[in-house]
Amino acid sequence: MLGFVPFALVLGARASQKGLSALEVPFMAGANFGGGSEFAAIALWTSPPHVLLIVAITLLVNSRHLLMGAMLAPIIRHLPKRKALLALFFMCDESWALGLAEGRKTSSRLSLGYYAGVALPLYLTWVIFTAIGALIGPSLGDVTRFGFDMAFPAVFLVMLAGMWQGVAAARPWLVSLVVAGVTCLLVPGAWYVPAGAISGVAAAYFWSRTT
């Protein structure tokens, strides 16, 4: 849970520098509750925001929830649908992993109390500390001085390191990086985002067939 705090502070601070208000930032954190997608969205945020671009990127980043939800399904089958749908709102990498381990240990039924005890503190930490980040963000001033702007790519690299599953699984990332980098140099605007994301996903699709 403490691991959430610096992520949330960096996200909130960056979001406020991008012009989101101190209410909008915790609203995003609380309604969306998906760190990776929020970092991507804030990195791409403009005034006004490219709605479709941000929503499409959010969908891509969070598509793995489909897999996670499917894996969780057997151990929440005993819950009434209404409760299961509520519990899934709070599913993040951490609550999913702990819930799955606990559910498989205890006769393949996840206890709602255990799950809530894991998920709710994580949720509250995320919302509260993004709000605090949004409040202190404007006082940081020009972030490109001193190298403060490097904090944001650093968070992304930490998230990528956390997703690392070997060189083969990471090859599509390299495709994305190269295509996005080249597109960014040649084409003005945010076109590098769909170009990089789509080419990487296409590479993953292609490579999964040959291996």
Binding site: G3, P6, S21, L23, E24, F27, M28, F33, G34, G36, A40, A43, L44, P49, V55, I57, T58, L59, L60, V61, N62, S63, R64, H65, L66, L67, M68, G69, A70, A73, P74, A84, L85, F146, G147, D149, M150, A151, P153, A154, V155, F156, L157, V158, L160, M163, Q165, A169, A170, P172, W173, S176, G181, V182, G196, A197, G200, V201, Y205, S208
Partner: protein, 98 residues
Amino acid sequence: MNAMNVLTIVLMASVTYLTRIGGYLFLRDRNLSPRAKAVMESAPGCVLITVIAPSFVTGQVADLIALAVTAVAATRLSMLPTVLIAIATAGVLRSVAG
């Protein structure tokens, strides 16, 4: 609150919630193909690296070195020390490069 910001956040939250309940509602009795799994597992990384790609092509040698140092730090350290190293490296290298 700004209307466009709120609209974007509401739409983001909606698609995110659909991904959360979609697997439980529609995929629970199905076996996903290995290919679908591979795509879903690599997609978030593809998007994250894409979003920070512009900082790799600024043409500033100081930034490139700082990113390389940060990438190495990210594989070995947790988030807070990595961020501090990133900020310090970029700050020092940029002032050296002028």
